[in-house]
């Protein structure tokens, strides 16, 4: 990440900080199941918008922090975020031209596969609780994507983040 002042790095840092705080937000149990993957959404947005600056490495490091926040195995979220950032960068030209609802479907599949991976990790570490509720975050993330996208785009344009 470059630190030149006109690059407005703080906007990116701020959005990730907000995502992490939303991730930590204490919620009632039923709401926890619906909690969207805030950090992944923000990362995917920035990887689409600034593919030269936000990529696999940033995703991986953010993921390690998310692992600490969620007290999961170190590397569990790092791996999914790295892959999500990679996919977002690889397809960013095409995806940016998609209508929002098509993007949202893409988000659904990305979060869905990440959740399948988490279920699998829980199974390996003996914490398995096979439950179809694992799919909820993918739904809520998908529904939130248009708002996240427009919100972060406005933020980006307002502060001329490039």
């Amino acid at each position: 990440m470059s630190t030149q002042p006109h690059n407005q790095t703080w906007v990116v840092v701020f959005s990730f900080t907000m995502a992490m705080m939303l991730e930590m937000l204490p919620l009632p149990l039923w709401a926890m199941f619906w909690q969207p993957d805030w950090i992944a959404l923000v990362l995917i947005y920035w990887a689409l918008a600034l593919p030269k600056r936000i990529g696999v490495l940033v995703g991986w490091h953010i993921g390690i922090l998310q692992d600490v926040i969620t007290d999961s195995l170190l590397g569990q979220h790092a791996m999914t975020l790295a892959i999500q950032a990679f996919l977002a960068i690889s397809y960013n030209r095409q995806v940016r031209l998609f209508p929002l609802w098509q993007q949202a479907l893409g988000i659904f599949s990305l979060i869905f596969f990440a959740q399948v991976w988490f279920i699998w990790i829980r199974g390996i570490t003996g914490q398995v609780e096979s439950d179809w509720r694992f799919i909820y975050p993918a739904f809520s993330s998908m529904l939130l994507w248009p708002w996240i996208y427009t919100g972060l785009r406005d933020l980006q344009q307002n502060y001329h983040v490039s």
Binding site: M20, M24, P26, L65, D71, G75, T125, E129
Partner: protein, 296 residues
């Protein structure tokens, strides 16, 4: 390809973290980095609580004060009998040459987050290694056993609840001293007892206490009550479901419990404890001994 490298690196860190615990230090340092954010997130809730306390009317306060006063009197009277029993117990133990139960150091911790991950039963508390918290420290509340500390950082720790699927807890039935192992089921309010043969004397409503056999939890703290017992002739063991005494998903404050001699002679105490467990002639772990407080 950078992404392949990162994926491989993630797999390596995961294995290191899970199998070898090499990364516990890294984790606790990163935890410190995160904790200001965590404080910030929970501060509105904390201030809301403070505000609602400040706004309580005098009448309410008086009412609560009276209620607490009554409660305190009741507890004090109970404590008197307990004191004499404790002394009697100590005397008897001395006569029998059994090591004495020691008083313990405790600390109240606030629960920061009840569920870190909705599928994994863990909670976050606001005490860390700066307060002397270490991994494996027992966590209780006013009603019973809550769990044990699994990760610590300077100011916060994560606690694995007894309902966590990987949590096993040696217990004893208060009524008759039958020993069992209570395993978490992953549900918020259920434990199950492992390896009880169908001849075992377990009834609905039986109270379970910690047996102290694992060496981690002190003996005699309530764990839960038996909710249902199901006999299945196809299975070698009976299915026993237990409801934990502690309201695990509603806790606001928990109690950390240190063994008295932890700070003085940790290793010596642990070794002594293990020896007394391994020695079959030592009467420390017999049912009668555990049952000493219950009425026949």
């Amino acid at each position: 390809m950078r992404v392949t490298v990162m994926v491989v690196l993630s797999l390596i860190t995961m294995v290191l973290d899970h199998r070898l615990h090499y990364l516990d230090n890294v984790r606790s340092h990163l935890f410190v980095l995160i904790s200001p954010l965590q404080m910030l997130v929970e501060s509105p809730i904390r201030y809301a609580n403070l505000l609602s306390e400040a706004m309580t009317s005098q009448a309410q306060l008086l009412h609560e004060n009276r209620r607490l006063h009554k409660n305190q009197l009741l507890l004090a009277s109970k404590l008197q009998t307990f004191k004499s029993l404790e002394k009697e117990n100590a005397d008897l133990r001395r006569l029998l040459n059994i090591s004495q139960r020691t008083a313990q150091k405790t600390l109240i911790a606030e629960v920061v987050s009840v569920d870190i991950d909705p599928f994994v039963r863990k909670m976050l508390i606001n005490k860390g290694s700066a307060d002397g918290v270490y991994e494996g420290l027992p966590v209780l509340d006013a009603q019973g056993v809550v769990g044990k500390v699994v990760h610590t950082s300077v100011f916060m720790s994560s606690v694995q609840l007894i309902t966590n699927l990987t949590h096993v807890l040696p217990v004893v039935i208060q009524r008759n001293g039958v020993r069992a192992i209570a395993e978490g089921t992953g549900a918020t309010d259920q434990l199950s007892l492992l390896y009880l043969p169908d001849t075992a004397d377990v009834q609905q409503g039986d109270l379970l206490l910690t047996s102290g056999l694992g060496g981690l939890f002190p003996r005699g703290y309530p764990v839960g009550a038996v909710a249902s017992v199901k006999q299945d002739t196809d299975l070698a063991y009976i299915e026993v479901i237990v409801n934990p005494s502690s309201p695990l998903d509603k806790n606001k404050e928990v109690l950390l419990l240190w063994p008295e001699d932890y700070f003085k002679q940790t290793t010596a105490a642990v070794v002594q404890h293990q020896q007394s467990e391994q020695d079959p002639t030592a009467p420390v772990a017999t049912p009668e001994d555990i049952n000493v407080n219950s009425t026949p």
